[in-house]
Structure formats: structure tokens, C-alpha cells
Symmetry: C2
């Protein structure tokens, strides 16, 4: 029996995207965004949504670029800090001891210590209400070499990402292998 | 040292959203979508992206509504099947033995056996290239009562969602608890 929870923003899983931008003076900033996801395969695009009140908002409008760094479990505290502090008040890289690296591809910085990075050029902005959705074309993806498997493919175990539980506002790691996509469904049906 | 992977659609985690729609004759259909995520808190909105070639595409354009059912691990095979078969060729509910339920809130069906459902009215459509992004306002969220904890909140363990590893095209469950969001970051910084 299903029960109504009302109109709420609950899906599983939600990501923890660390959005990197430069401000007007070139100061690197990062914030955490759980609202977003891949939105097109060709051209490869990703959307992120954030409030106009964030320090990142004007950086995005000004620079038309951002990065997404995927934080590993061992830096969950720093990723959470990026979500509860503001670049208006502090230098989040200094506070955490993490290192900003200038993307050579787009006008934005990423987090050196985080294993996977998307470098994005903004191609579409849509004001939806409290949040504005920024869609970026993914110009390149960079990964720490030690996060590649023997075949040179990204290894989720070595990347060690985590997810946001929007219902209870908690973080969880990645669990057991369930099956191959576009494959296990072949056992079903006619 | 970071290595370039090229312009690819890889983020962690990606979701497995089961998108429910009616076609022109009222036949219920479902497909799996990994491209999407919450995109606004007020009004509560979620975006999904899919190819024009899908059977769902015309259903979305015609009905201006969809549901997202979150599949549990025990139905991962059926969820995968929803992604590799087409409603143009078959009745996916008949094939899997799962049950379509008409949303009383929007003009779309959801999957009875899946524990969490978002009921959405389309408010924005954006053609991005291979994929078109549909943004829906979340009109209601429904959950199986046995997936609520003692305080009446959604319990991720009982919901038992899983994630899509877009790098290696595999599914993984939810792992260990890492920490409370908007909280563990307080240990960091000044």
C-alpha cells in the first residue's frame, strides 16, 4: 500500500557533484550540488541546478564554464563542507587544504585530489524557480590513472564515489555488484 | 596524475529511473533512463532525458506527464529489461508480470511493485541533440508504507535502490553509511 509524501524532491540515488568555478577576480571556488545529472549523450552534456543566492551562480553566469569533480569517500567531509560554506565568506580550498587546478580546457578549476573530473562549457541556462539549471557540454573527462582498471576503463571501486540520500539527508557508499546493464534484462520477457 | 578520457558521459552515481507513460491508445509503457536528476526544489522538479527514437518520447509529448518509479534491487532484471526492450514491439508489463497503476495525480502509470514513485507534469522540453530533456514538476511522491522508518521517513535500506555505473555499464547497490549531510563538514575548516 502506497502512502503520499507530498510534492518532495526525493530520488535515489542523488549525486554529490563538486562544482568548480572562478569568480570575477579569478578566485577558485567549489560548491556541492546534489541536483543534476547527465542530460545528453551527443553532444555529451550534464545539468546542474543551484540557487541564485550561491556564490557559484554569478561565477557560472560570468565565466560560462564549470567543472564537476567527483569526491571519493575519503574526502566526504571536505565535500560536505563545500556544501555548507560559501565562497562569499571564505576560501574553501584553503580551509580544506585541497588543491585547485586550472582546467586547461574550460575557464574553471577542479579539485586535484578528487579522482574524476568533467570539464564543461555552459550551453543553456533555465530559471526554474528557486533553482536555475545550467547545462554544460562536457568538453573532456579526466581521471586519476590509478583509478583505471587493467583494460584502461574507469573502475568504480577505485574511484570510490558516494551518493546522497535526499530522503534522510545522509551519504552512502557504493555497495554490492548487482549485474551488467543492458544484459541481465535478457533473462526476462518472451 | 590525471589522464584524459575524452568527452564522455560519465558521472557517479547515475540513477536508474523507470519512466512511466501512456501512449495514444492508453497502453501503459515504461522505460529505463539513467540521464536525469532533481533540478529544482521549489517548485519541486525533476529532469529526464531520452532519445526521440524511444516509444516514450511521443507519449511524453502527447500526455505532458510521466512518473518515475525507483526500482528495488530485487527487480533489477525487470528494470534492465525496461531499458533494452521497446514499447513499440511489446507490452513490458505483460512480459515482466509487473503491474501498471494509474496515477490519480497525473496522466501516467507507475509500477506497483516498485517502492517509490514520483508523479510529474511536464513544464519544459529542451532538445539538446541526441537526447531531449523533459522537466517535470513533481506533483506528488508515493512510497510503500513498509519503506518508512519509525519516524515516518523514507528508509533507503528498505527502499533498496541501486545505481548505474556509466563507466563500466554495471549496476551496484547502496553501500555503507558514511555520514550525515550538512553535518560532517562542520569538522572541517576554520
Amino acid at each position: 500500500m502506497k502512502k503520499s509524501l507530498g510534492a518532495k524532491t526525493i530520488v535515489y540515488p542523488a549525486p554529490v557533484f563538486i562544482v568548480g568555478t572562478y569568480d570575477g577576480e579569478g578566485k577558485p571556488n567549489v560548491m556541492a550540488a546534489a541536483w543534476g545529472g547527465i542530460c545528453c549523450s551527443q553532444p555529451p552534456c550534464v545539468s546542474i541546478s543551484l540557487r541564485k543566492a550561491t556564490y557559484t551562480y554569478n561565477n557560472l553566469v560570468g565565466r560560462k564554464a564549470f567543472t564537476i569533480s567527483i569526491p571519493p569517500v575519503k574526502h566526504a567531509k571536505e565535500a560536505d563542507y563545500f556544501g555548507i560554506s560559501s565562497g562569499r565568506d571564505t576560501d574553501k580550498f584553503e580551509d580544506t587544504g585541497l588543491t585547485p587546478v586550472s582546467s586547461g580546457v574550460v575557464d574553471a578549476p577542479y579539485v586535484k585530489e578528487f579522482p574524476l573530473v568533467l570539464e564543461c562549457k555552459i550551453i543553456h541556462i533555465k530559471d526554474l524557480g528557486l533553482h536555475t539549471q545550467f547545462t554544460g557540454e562536457i568538453m573532456d573527462v579526466k581521471i586519476d590513472e590509478d583509478c583505471l582498471d587493467e583494460e584502461g576503463k574507469p573502475d568504480i571501486g577505485r574511484i570510490s564515489p558516494f551518493l546522497f540520500d535526499a530522503g534522510a539527508r545522509q551519504y552512502f557508499g557504493v555497495g554490492d555488484f548487482i549485474g551488467k546493464a543492458f544484459s541481465i534484462g535478457n533473462e526476462v520477457g518472451n
